[in-house]
Amino acid sequence: MNSTAIETPPDQASERADAAKEATHHRQAQTVPKHPLIRIRPSQRWVSLNLADLWAYRELLYFLTLRDVKVRYKQTALGAAWAIIQPLFTMLVFTLFFGRLAGVPSEGVPYSIFAYAGLLPWTFFSNAVTNSGNSLVASANLITKVYFPRIIIPGAAVLAGLVDFAIAFAIQALLMIYHGVEVTWNILMLPVLVLLTALLALGVGMLMSALNVKYRDIRYALPFVVQLWMFASPIIYPSSLVPDRWRWVMSLNPLTGIIEGYRSALFGRDFDTLGLFISALITLALLVYSSFVFRRMEKSFADLV
């Protein structure tokens, strides 16, 4: 200790000496690493995904998801019932207008469960994309104050939507029992389809959230694009309604294969394997692309948000 200007009373000085002794003792226990644990450098144009870092922070993903789930319906009168109300009422309106009045075909099952089977993954997807797309901007206070892999933020927004999905799925089960729809082994594909939907939502959400930090246009464009996307996907109509020569355009929309997949899994129809394969391929390609774009833009988030 330096004794130049701050005079230390004798009793305090001996305390400090004790503390110093303890400190050296402590230091021997925890050896100082020879090589730096963390190296900070300006990143290159193309960055690695740094998955090890992401793995180290996996528990943060869990806690942020938990936060989103717990907070979502706080101080609402209806609580988690909102997870059901949204797809259920949309289904009722669709059944009335498209099923009854417009007479859209529903491939052998009542229109209500046909529409609900499409709305179930769609509601999850659209909420996940919207929430994760706005997630980074909404978490500006975190981004400017503490380090962690930023991918966790849009990731948690997507994962939190799964709880709503599970709640809304209960209605699907009830509707199927009510209408006497038989469950087949096809149902085993359901987890794969849910995973695919989540990955697609993550791919889109991640890209949108990163762009949103720089271009706030995304906030206005997103709801609009999501709405158009719904009509471009076979939710209120079966893809069999689309003329054959335009079918390939439909299949470029990765949601087409996924949503038809849900119906096959639930209603025991044959899977359109090629369609599903194309959807999976596009989803994975988008996910990889988004991850790299995200990682590249990540370094400037704290300066821009």
Binding site: T4, V32, L37, R41, D217
Partner: protein, 430 residues
């Protein structure tokens, strides 16, 4: 000695547009891209003009166990430096090597969610700071005890008092197991009691062999906590050394003496549209600026400010703070009732406050000066560590300490009246 932090050649460049306008729209960006391309065709150097270097070529090493204070005027790059070291923002040039886990505490309660309970927030905040679940669970009781919130663990933190909230938030960060701790001006919040506890906790941190980088505007706190201080000025290391030396450099940096501060132009002076400071001086008995004051002699503080508007009645408020960070007293110019009841006119106001001799204790004192108005309460201008001076006791036998020359404790050292006499009757010894 083992190295804990190695900082070499760090430079951080900001685009002024990006840092000030916060975000751009796609259209502006497209327009900018096209405009930029045109400029580039004309070989203009526009892109260089639009950027500032918040940090330029900062180099230093910190040994394990050192507690290093980082000081500097606003905009010197202190916070940017901490942000780079804590990996929140990337350096444009240079690099940092960190030998150990890093806990950065740039704000108290980052990521606290008002709707979640105290218990839930401890886990969430812990995870955000980089702790794992097992580690938080192990420290949970300790955190709760430090924050003194046992009874409110299952209450949403939005119902917490601000004191409880800050205590809990600090407790989580303070209990993180890390070899390196980065702390930004977080102790500025909270009451005196809380600040004292935090200081205690920080010192504990230091004595455990942890390395601490500590940004603060509070010179007393820096003096008390740090064994080394780095002074940043305009993004560069201006001084690096013992706290006394560097703080002296810092306080000297704009005028000759830490006992005088003047602001050459109204625009650059601290203040708002109502009042702006012009000068603060420490004067000795003869009315001359002096940094060193004899403990037996009175000292005067002179404050000048521009009163820019008529309707308000601003008051000067002065806080005298010692090396331990204790505010010895606060005094306002309304103690002069005559002046306080006088209607004000726009113009320069000069005030002198006399502090009697044989009252302050030995040591360095720091002065916070503010110009405020009340009803509604508003701080127009504030300058921490505006001036500082040293009280010197020459121990010539006629002071408070008399002929006693060893340690003389006490935050003040007033000369008091004693009535002492030999009892004329009953003086018999039994």
């Amino acid at each position: 000695m083992d190295t804990a932090i190695k900082v070499y050649g760090i430079g951080k460049q900001y685009h002024i547009g990006a840092s000030q306008a916060h975000y751009e729209t796609l259209r502006e960006s497209l327009a900018g891209a096209i405009g930029g391309a045109l400029k580039r065709l004309r070989r203009s150097r526009r892109s260089e003009d639009d950027t500032i270097w918040a940090l330029k070529d900062v180099n230093f090493d910190v040994a394990a166990g050192e507690v290093v204070g980082i000081i500097g005027r606003n905009g010197a790059g202190k916070s940017t430096l901490l942000k780079v070291i804590s990996r929140i923002t990337e350096p444009t040039r240079g690099g940092v090597d960190l030998y150990g886990r890093v806990a950065s505490l740039l704000e108290v309660g980052t990521g606290f969610h008002p709707e979640l309970t105290g218990r839930e927030n401890i886990y969430l905040n812990g995870a955000i700071l980089g702790m794992n679940k097992a580690e938080i669970a192990r420290k949970f009781d300790e955190i709760v005890a430090f924050a003194e919130v046992e009874r409110f663990l299952d209450t949403p933190v939005k119902r917490f008092s601000s004191g409880m909230y800050t205590r809990l938030a600090f407790a989580v960060a303070a209990h993180m197991e890390s070899e390196i701790m980065l702390v930004d001006e977080v102790l500025a919040v909270g009451d005196a009691e809380f600040q004292k506890r935090c200081l205690g906790k920080m010192q504990e941190v230091g004595s455990e062999g942890r390395t601490v980088l500590f940004v603060s505007h509070s010179m007393p706190m820096i003096l008390r906590l740090c064994n080394r201080v780095i002074l940043l000025a305009q993004g560069e290391v201006a001084a690096d050394g013992s706290p006394q030396e560097v703080i002296r450099r810092y306080l000297h940096s704009d005028v000759g003496s830490p006992a005088e501060r003047t602001w050459p132009s109204i625009e650059l002076a601290p203040g708002d549209s109502v009042a702006r400071l012009r000068a603060v001086r420490v004067l000795d008995e003869r009315g001359e600026v002096s940094e060193s004051i004899d403990i037996r002699k009175p000292v005067s503080i002179e404050v000048e400010y521009w009163n820019l508007q008529q309707p308000l009645r601003p008051t000067i408020s002065m806080h005298l703070i010692n090396e331990d960070g204790i505010t010895l007293f606060v005094t306002n110019d309304w103690n002069n009732r005559g002046w306080w009841n006088t209607p004000r006119a726009p113009g320069l106001v000069r005030a002198i406050c006399k502090i009697p001799g044989n009252f302050l204790a030995e040591g360095r004192l720091f002065l916070l000066v503010a110009v405020c108005s009340y009803n509604p309460d508003c701080v127009h201008a504030i300058e921490r560590d505006a001036v500082s001076f040293q009280i010197v006791d020459r121990s010539e036998g006629d002071g408070v300490r008399g002929v006693y020359s060893a340690e003389w404790p006490g935050a003040v050292r007033p000369m008091l009246d004693w009535e002492v006499a030999q009892e004329p009757n009953g003086g018999e010894l039994s």
